[in-house]
Symmetry: D2
Subunit: 105 residues, 4 copies
Amino acid sequence: MTRILEDLAATIVARRGAEPDTSYTASLLARGTAKCAEKFGEEAIEAIIAATSGNKTELRAEAADVLYHLLVMMTARDVSLEEVLDELSKRTAMSGHEEKAARRP
Amino acid sequence: MTRILEDLAATIVARRGAEPDTSYTASLLARGTAKCAEKFGEEAIEAIIAATSGNKTELRAEAADVLYHLLVMMTARDVSLEEVLDELSKRTAMSGHEEKAARRP
Amino acid sequence: MTRILEDLAATIVARRGAEPDTSYTASLLARGTAKCAEKFGEEAIEAIIAATSGNKTELRAEAADVLYHLLVMMTARDVSLEEVLDELSKRTAMSGHEEKAARRP
Amino acid sequence: MTRILEDLAATIVARRGAEPDTSYTASLLARGTAKCAEKFGEEAIEAIIAATSGNKTELRAEAADVLYHLLVMMTARDVSLEEVLDELSKRTAMSGHEEKAARRP
């Protein structure tokens, strides 16, 4: 399963600047960062509701939507998946409460 | 960079059920799904604000927080990263507007 | 301007249980609390984006949407505007940091 | 109950520009719009979770928090309660699905 997210990220980056009517991703990016952030926010809310109401099937689908729209929002601002995973990696190298302390100075 | 997310997901799953004071992840999971969903929501809001205000450094950090807290919220509901990536993978096999149409029946 | 919110709240409560196709409010309430919470969340995200990007006209419109959808979500759970304003009133009787301390025990 | 929200809005506006350590509201406004929007977002998420999980007492408290933080976020951007209620009032003059259609052109 390891390359799914990387492949999706590459596809999204490749669609930036493409004709808006050639793909959903291209049309979203063409509408600007605020619209991409709005869509990400909507999916985050739906994931929260699915988690709270205990619907596993829906949470699985909404979590996938969150990942896709997070990548689109990042792409709108030129932030790469590699940078974000690198950031995560540094934190994972630490552990437990020390890690939390480091993140919230 | 490929295994960072998978390793983090495995670490989070391993901490479920551990003593809450042994790690931040264990303490979060011990407080229940609603609390995990709340923390995920807070990070999603911070990522949206970072993206909208154009702060790349902050967006990178917030996106990492979103990924971590998404995994925690999924773990609280027994949804695995593998299932979610599998869901993403099915969608990526489709493309463009057809894919969007399939997701939103 | 004082009775606008109270009148709107009364209208929303009156539409609960009405035929879904008679009004937008009735159709929203007929779809259940989770859908009402989702719509409230979408408007909250849009208000956050409008505030962050500095668009006053949009923030005014989104804040109105937030108030309307907050009332709908409250109605879905039988929480009245009167109860919520009463709660606010108790807090306003306190002041400054003491008030915050009282809210977050 | 009619003047509670108006009185609170006036108090918040009056605290803008006050010394941050004199009140929670003043300290929040001093930290800027993004921080006010973040706090509003956190309360919105908590209200969504309370509504979804069916906790009426919590929803009442969270709805009060949403109203307070919405007013603070509006104040940070010089949007008045009067303007927002005026906007709501225009919509309420319309009804049902026509009103929805007018809002979402």
